[in-house]
């Protein structure tokens, strides 16, 4: 997938409009200086929009486009192209391609004339969509045709690339509309636009088969991601499989499952469950000891030992870990990694001490959140601490991964808390395991695709055999998300 930096021009400056609103302008200054600061390499594609032209219907920023094209950039430009002469004027300025919006939606005859003059390979059709409706004229009115009709016109004209912008998402940093792109015909070559704020968003887009490019503006201009890193990551979007992790909540040596951390139900012997999960394709196993007593915790340690002896996949254990000695005891019992929760809130240095003693890879921060507030003591006690701030701090102290549980969603089967996941995963570089709320196959996809999670965890769903690990993996693979099978 091509990552294409975007510059919107207004009155000679690089700017961004919030949701296409000409009264909400952020200016980034001289366009060439902006390009220098972004380290856009020679030969790179560059997407340029003349905003004034898109509103007035007459090319305005031709001098700037001429300067940009001279910098050995492959410029695709548009805004207000209403005629063959408009399109020709951008090509005459040195642009490689023109981006045609309103006429593509409203005037098929003009579109065909532009294609006849320039050749189909020099024309990109731009379709701006809000709530499934095509918008035109600088997003200020609805188009005369539906999305399907516009796409049919574009295909018939022989145009290969379609720039699809989800206007509701553009410029507001809430993530791309993956569903919009996935719903488009598979034979289109889509350039996605709008809502990209993280490298994970780009990786998720690159996994959608008809998305061949992505335009990024605000996230790049605001320094939220670097072009070099983005391009390196999307080069191999499927190299690293995402993980599906069953969780065993163990109390007094038995697997149980709580709904919203209360109403505990018994679900069986941990060793039997663990072995079944590995056979079904679990990538890792998490055991959370929710015993309330010391005797219960000793029983849990024995359960960990028995489970570790039955498994050939990584084992993460958490619950009731209060000290470096507890941590060591669990590693000795066969855990590969240990999750710390309440004790780390009480004494954050515990994270650093364990990372120093046992290595970063052994330390998992388990963070329970209600909304964005960190909760401790099995999700019962509020702390007043922001989950994003806490996870970022834990990363700095040496946590190797974050197990992020939404207390609101846990046991409800209503879906992971995507906003929480997104907020945390975009604030840290280490992996985030999504936990709490899995109830349907789509939930697992959304946690990875939109939430930026590197692993998805469920407990009751797998125990109750409503969905199997194999089904989750098959679904993720079908949706283009790489899994181990």
């Amino acid at each position: 997938m091509d990552v294409i930096p975007a510059l919107d021009l207004l009155q000679g400056r690089a700017v961004r409009l919030e949701r296409g609103d000409f009264t909400r302008v952020t200016s980034y200054g001289d366009p060439e200086r902006v390009l220098d600061s972004l380290d856009v390499p020679r030969g790179s594609r560059l997407h340029v929009v003349d905003l004034e032209a898109s509103r007035s219907g007459r090319p305005v920023e031709t001098d700037i486009v001429r300067r940009l094209a001279r910098r050995d950039l492959r410029v695709q430009t548009g805004g207000g192209i209403r005629s063959v002469a408009d399109a020709r004027s951008w090509i005459d300025c040195g642009a490689e391609k023109v981006v045609v919006g309103t006429v593509a939606a409203d005037s098929p005859d003009v579109l065909r004339a532009i294609v006849a003059d320039l050749g189909a390979s020099r024309v990109i059709a731009a379709v701006d969509v809000r709530d499934g409706v095509v918008r035109v004229a600088g997003w200020e009115r609805d188009a005369q045709r539906s999305l399907a009709e516009v796409l049919a016109v574009v295909a018939e004209a022989g145009i290969e690339e379609v720039l699809v912008t989800d206007i509701a998402r553009d410029g507001v940093l809430c993530g791309p509309s993956f569903a919009t792109y996935r719903a488009l015909p598979p034979n289109l070559r889509v350039i996605a636009s709008g809502g990209v704020t993280t490298v994970s968003d780009l990786v998720s887009l690159a996994r959608i088969s008809n998305v061949g490019g992505c335009v990024i503006g605000k996230a790049l201009l605001d320094g939220r991601l670097s072009l070099a890193e983005a391009r390196a990551r999307v080069a191999t979007p499927n190299a690293i499989p995402e993980r599906v992790i069953p969780c065993l909540d163990v109390r007094d040596g038995r697997v149980v499952k709580g709904v919203n951390f209360v109403n505990i139900r018994d679900a069986g012997d941990p060793v039997e469950c663990a072995a079944r999960y590995e056979a079904e394709g679990a990538d890792e196993l998490v055991i959370l000891d929710i015993s309330a007593t010391d005797a219960g915790r000793d029983t849990a340690l024995e359960s960990v030992r028995r489970v570790a002896n039955a498994l050939f996949i990584p084992l993460t254990v958490g619950g009731g870990v209060r000290s470096i000695e507890d941590f060591r005891a669990l590693l000795r019992a066969g855990a590969d990694r240990v999750a710390i929760n309440t004790a780390a809130i009480r004494d954050p240095q515990l994270i650093a001490d364990c990372a120093q003693e046992f290595g970063v890879q052994a330390v998992v921060l388990s963070c329970d959140a209600r909304g964005r507030e960190v909760m401790v003591r099995s999700g019962k006690e509020p702390t007043g601490i922001d989950a994003v701030e806490w996870c970022r701090r834990a990363e700095g102290l040496g946590a190797g991964e974050i197990l992020l549980t939404s207390v609101d969603r846990d046991g409800t089967n209503s879906g992971f808390d995507i906003a929480l996941l997104r907020a945390v995963s975009s604030a840290v570089k280490i992996g985030v395991i999504a936990s709490g709320g899995a109830g349907a196959l789509e939930h697992f996809r959304d946690a990875i695709e939109s939430g930026g999670a590197r692993a998805v965890l469920a407990a009751s769903l797998f125990h109750d055999r409503r969905i199997s690990i194999g089904e989750v993996k098959e679904f993720l693979a079908k949706e283009g998300i790489p899994v181990r099978r």
Binding site: V199, A228, E229, A232, R233, T236, N238, A239, I240, P241, R243, E278, D283, A308, N309, F312, I313, P314, G334, D336, G359, V360, Q361, G400, E401, K429, I430, G431, R454, A455, P482, R484
Partner: protein
């Protein structure tokens, strides 16, 4: 087939022992240099720091015991840091010479991804000791250029997932944590003639 597992204190010996037994090995776990020198099939595990693992080998004369065994035709499997120890040199926290049984150097991942790598990764292989597939890795350092590479993977850039030089075999991943695919690698080593 008897396998001699080197009982390094800088390793997760128990897990590897369990996996080797599950893969069908008769197992001797030892840190006795004479026993290691006389072994026909050796496994060198390792986790954590390269320098600590190497200095334990040197202090206990196990480095020369391993070299003697290999010179005498023994098969050797290095796992994770044990795999790295097979190389000429590592640049983890300074420069430390390794066993020199495989040509190349161990360097830190330089790509855009978070280090350490913790998780499953797809391996492409030139077989037959390692099948192409997905294996479990935990590492910050790896080889990127060696003439003895037999399998590779990508973590923000390509790296060596497995090496073979004569009877010396090494895997950067953890076969003991890689489920059935990992056990298959151990079975291949056990059956290797």
């Amino acid at each position: 087939m008897e396998v001699t597992l080197i009982d390094s204190p800088v390793a997760n010996v128990a897990n590897i022992a369990r996996a080797l037994r599950a893969a069908g090995a008769g197992l001797r776990v030892t840190r006795d240099a004479a026993a290691i020198k006389a072994a026909r099939k050796l496994v060198l595990p390792g986790v954590g720091s390269f320098a600590a693992a190497m200095s334990w080998l040197v202090e206990n004369r196990i480095d020369s015991a391993i070299r003697d065994a290999v010179a005498d035709g023994a098969a050797l499997l290095g796992i994770c840091v044990g795999h790295q120890l097979l190389f000429d040199v590592s640049h983890e926290m300074g420069t430390t010479p390794g066993l020199g049984l495989v040509r190349g150097e161990i360097t830190k991942y330089g790509g855009p991804l978070p280090v350490p790598q913790i998780g499953w990764n797809r391996v492409t292989s030139r077989g037959p000791l390692v099948d192409g597939g997905v294996y479990y890795f935990v590492n910050s350092y790896a080889a990127t250029s060696t003439p003895h590479e037999i399998a590779r993977a990508d973590y923000g850039g390509p790296f060596t997932a497995a090496v073979q030089n004569g009877r010396v075999f090494g895997v950067q991943f953890h076969p003991e944590k890689s489920s059935t695919a990992g056990l298959e690698v151990l079975r291949n080593f056990i059956a290797w003639t």
